[in-house]
């Protein structure tokens, strides 16, 4: 039994998931709130388990025959994933009720997705990582298709499924080649193997494997040129699912990228960094430029997500402690911002009505000055304008990029941030400068109001005291030897 100690939070979550699944069978539509509460309670307990047992470790702890690993980074990322999922589920409660989708599957599938994410964060073995990713992806495909009778949602789900499967195939193929080269599936053995290889930059099979792995990861992250699925999926998916899909999984994929590229394949850094820099810069460019012409809010945020992922990757690819921690800081903040913006869209919706177009926000500040202000803070934060938190995320990444002497890349990144600022400003313009059209008041419970407000206020609080979160990332990665 002691061997399973290392995966205690995951095992608990799996058990809780089964209980919730069974519980839901006995609950009618009226009492489904119990499913919701049970889900939130299990997530909270999982957080406590992560926090109590696997925190404050000076080093990595490997277990389950070298398949599973916990370290400080895993702890921080798991807690972040769980917290953001709690926010996502709280918002989903309102959305699912409003849109007549109040079914238990959402929570169960959400929990399996979370389980997949936790496994991705802690996996230390190519197969475990892959299984975690597939558990996440399969749950997400189903979640996207939750609105069965909607053509757009079905299209999005099929697109997501087909492209996601191709990406998983790429990744698996790359992993199998890695196994062929190094003879091992364990990350630290792979790392040792490549450390001892003399001519790593000219190793053709390795290049082949790297290409597939990078392509697979780029698909999952939604990085140009593997980004085509992202806008359609964001748009077609019910907003509650978009919220979930656009925030927590990004953190998990970040962990995957760090584990694969920065840990296992760190010795081959010279071989993969060029590829990723190119993809990252392309994403920053294309994501920001294409977002300019969007009129659908969800599509707009999809393109902005592409650009943000490019920014984050630039931190990872610098392959320094500063770069990794800047990327981690960036991804945590991004997940928070993205969750916040979609939560705002859910908050503003009501029975049978969804906020999807830019026009729907017209004159928001006249109608709901407080929430308009919160949205403003989130958008300025996404645009990276101080004193909001997003600025420090961009700043930290740019600092690590310049530190690594990629000055012209940094210039490109900031120029593209100016382009990016333009479409965020356009939303703010619509909210603040345009005259309101007649809209009934917000119908929302206190919990989602408080969560959205807290999210908006965090943007400014973390902007004034950015070192709180920065230090967490910094210390976590020091302890994780990154």
């Amino acid at each position: 039994m002691a061997a399973f100690e290392i995966a205690r939070p995951e095992i608990f979550l799996l058990a809780a998931l089964c209980v919730v699944l069974l519980l839901d069978l006995f609950l009618g539509k009226q009492s489904r709130v119990i499913t919701y509460l049970a889900t939130q309670a299990s997530l909270l307990t999982t957080i406590l388990l992560v926090y109590s047992s696997f925190f404050n470790r000076p080093d990595k702890t490997v277990g389950l025959d070298g398949m599973y690993m916990v370290d400080e980074m895993a702890g921080v990322l798991k807690i972040a994933i769980l917290l953001i999922s709690i926010l996502a589920f709280a918002c989903a409660r309102k959305y699912l009720r409003d849109q007549d989708m109040w079914r238990g599957e959402f929570f169960v599938l959400g929990m399996t997705a979370i389980l997949g994410m936790l496994i991705m964060v802690s996996g230390y073995h190519l197969l475990v990582l892959y299984l975690g990713l597939e558990l996440l992806s399969l749950s997400l495909y189903t979640l996207v298709a939750m609105r069965r009778d909607d053509a757009q949602a079905t299209e999005a789900a099929i697109k997501y499924f087909v492209l996601g499967a191709v990406a998983s195939g790429f990744l698996l193929y790359g992993m199998s080649m890695l196994y062929g080269i190094s003879g091992s599936l364990e990350l630290n053995t792979i790392r040792e193997y490549f450390t001892n290889q003399p001519d790593i930059a000219t190793n053709l099979p390795l290049m082949f494997a790297l290409t597939f792995i990078v392509a697979g990861l780029a698909f999952k992250l939604g990085v140009v040129p593997f980004h085509m699925w992202l806008p359609d999926v964001y748009q077609g998916t019910p907003t509650a699912v978009t919220l979930f899909l656009s925030s927590a999984p990004k953190i998990a994929v970040f962990a995957l990228v760090i584990r694969l590229m920065a840990e296992a394949l760190e010795p081959a850094q010279s071989a993969w960094s060029q590829m990723i820099i190119l993809l990252a810069l392309l994403s920053i460019g294309i994501g920001n430029v294409v977002a300019l012409v969007q009129t659908n809010l969800k599509r707009l945020f999809a393109y902005s997500a592409i650009a943000h992922m490019g920014f984050m990757l630039m931190g990872v690819v610098m392959n320094t402690h500063e770069g990794h921690s800047a990327a981690m800081f960036y991804i945590l903040l991004y997940a928070l911002m993205s969750a916040g913006t979609f939560a705002m869209l859910i908050l503003l919706g009501r029975k049978g009505y969804e906020v999807t177009q830019l026009e729907d926000l017209k004159g928001l500040s006249g109608r709901h000055p407080w929430f308009a202000l919160m949205f403003l803070l989130m958008l300025f934060s996404m645009a990276g304008i101080p004193p909001t938190a997003g600025f420090y995320a961009k700043f930290a990444v740019i600092e690590s990029v310049i530190q690594a002497k990629f000055i012209w890349s940094a210039v490109f990144m900031v120029v593209m941030s100016v382009v990016g600022a333009f479409y965020y400003l356009r939303i703010i313009k619509i909210m603040y400068f345009d005259k309101p059209n007649d809209q009934p008041p917000i119908e929302a419970d206190m919990d989602i109001r408080v969560l959205v407000s807290a999210n908006g206020l965090l943007m400014i609080l973390l902007g004034i005291f950015p070192s709180v979160l920065m230090e967490i990332c910094d210390l976590a990665l020091i302890a994780s030897r990154l």
Partner: protein
Amino acid sequence: MMEWPILSFLIWLPIMGGLGVLIVGDRYGARQAALLLAAITFLISLPLYFAYDASSGTMQFTETFKWIDALGIHVNYDLGVDGVSIALILLNTFMTLLVLAASWDSVKERVAQYMAAFLIMEGLVNGVFMARDALLFYVFFEGMLIPLFLILGVWGGPQRVHATIKYFIYTFAGSVFLLVSLVYLYTQTSQGSFFLPDLYALTNLSEHAQLLVFLSFLVAFGVKVPLWPLHTWLPEAYSQAPTGGSVMLAAISVKVGGYAFYRLAMPIVPEASHDWALLVVVLSLVAIVYMSLIALVQTNLKKLVAYSSVAHMGFVTLGFFLVFKLQGLAFVDANVSGSVLAVQGAMVQMISHGFVAGALFLAIGMLFERMNTVEISAYQGITSRMPLFAAFFMLFAMANVGLPGTSGFVGEFFVILASAKAHFWVAFIAATTLILGAAYTLWAVKRVLFGEVNSSEVNKLDDLNRRELVILSVLALAILWLGWWPEPLTRLMEGSIREWMMIVSPSDLMPVVKGSS
């Protein structure tokens, strides 16, 4: 005094107060609360002037805390003021107070948000003038944009959206290069530091790097000042902004650009500033002449003042960069060299322009409240209906022309005198402003104030009420005081400017220039 964090108060009191006003909302006297806060902030800023030891000219009232110390980034919350900062802080707190008083009646919707935006902006601008850490400076410098963006966009005129977004994108685009430069400089310091004196002490920059850093500064601050040809956002923003917004833009926001040249650009890359001084001098001269000519043909009062602002700010950049053409020339007496005169002129011009442009925009705002238009053609002969207003307007116009006895004269005179030492033609071209300025200002005054009343609306105008009278009188006093007796201001700044000279001085940079080339 040292124990009391007076500088932090000046930043955070207005910001927190502004948030308070925002949260309380329109129900309970947002106007009164905001005015009270602005008055308190102004009162708190006054001791800076009296307690500052101007003879040493160093940074005083300093405060230092560790702010960010993670991810290999070390940023301190470093505040401090020298004579120049104090002058600008006083200008800021003073003008904010007046603007809030002036907006008493003119803003009718979303009053609390309006007042809050001005208070928050006041705090952020104070932060810009106090920051001794480059990143802290950048945060305040950029943060300023958010309240200004909302002030322009929410309460502005019919074409406000275009003007506002243009303004934001211009300034944001300028300042991102600043960010890259600052981070680059940070990586060049031995320990990794954004502390300004550490950046001043950098000597290991290649000529190429210096040039790029200088150009980024030039773009970032040139947009703010604005330097020709980066000024195109300005006429639109000024003319579309609400009265208070125009005043803050003209009196405060553009000063931030000038101050940034003084605090960051020239001391950090003195060699490149020296090599490229001629460029800035030429651009400033173009601004002075060309913008004055454009002001001549304006039919909109606000646009006229806007173009005249660009021309006047040209004197500021001219004064700063003349330093490099003047070093070492004894002037007036052995103690005041020409270059100190040039910088002092530029600084006095900044303060004076703050008063004059602010006063003009406030006066125009008062007309606008009555007639709902700022087209010159709509007015004629308002002297007969508003004699008090006409008297004030005439005074402000004269200060704008640079009539001796008004504040406008002092700064321009200093700069022209100094430029005469540098080159005859520089002085000659700069001096044309006295003619051109007189031409556009007096012509506009003639068309607005004098002539036959030929519109029924003008006939119904009321003269200034008591509140407006107080506001304009205070400004008139300030303008006259600075015109007759600028010594308190020059004495406040002189020591600091001398200190600053030591940093940008070519006497110790000449060998470096030779060595690097």
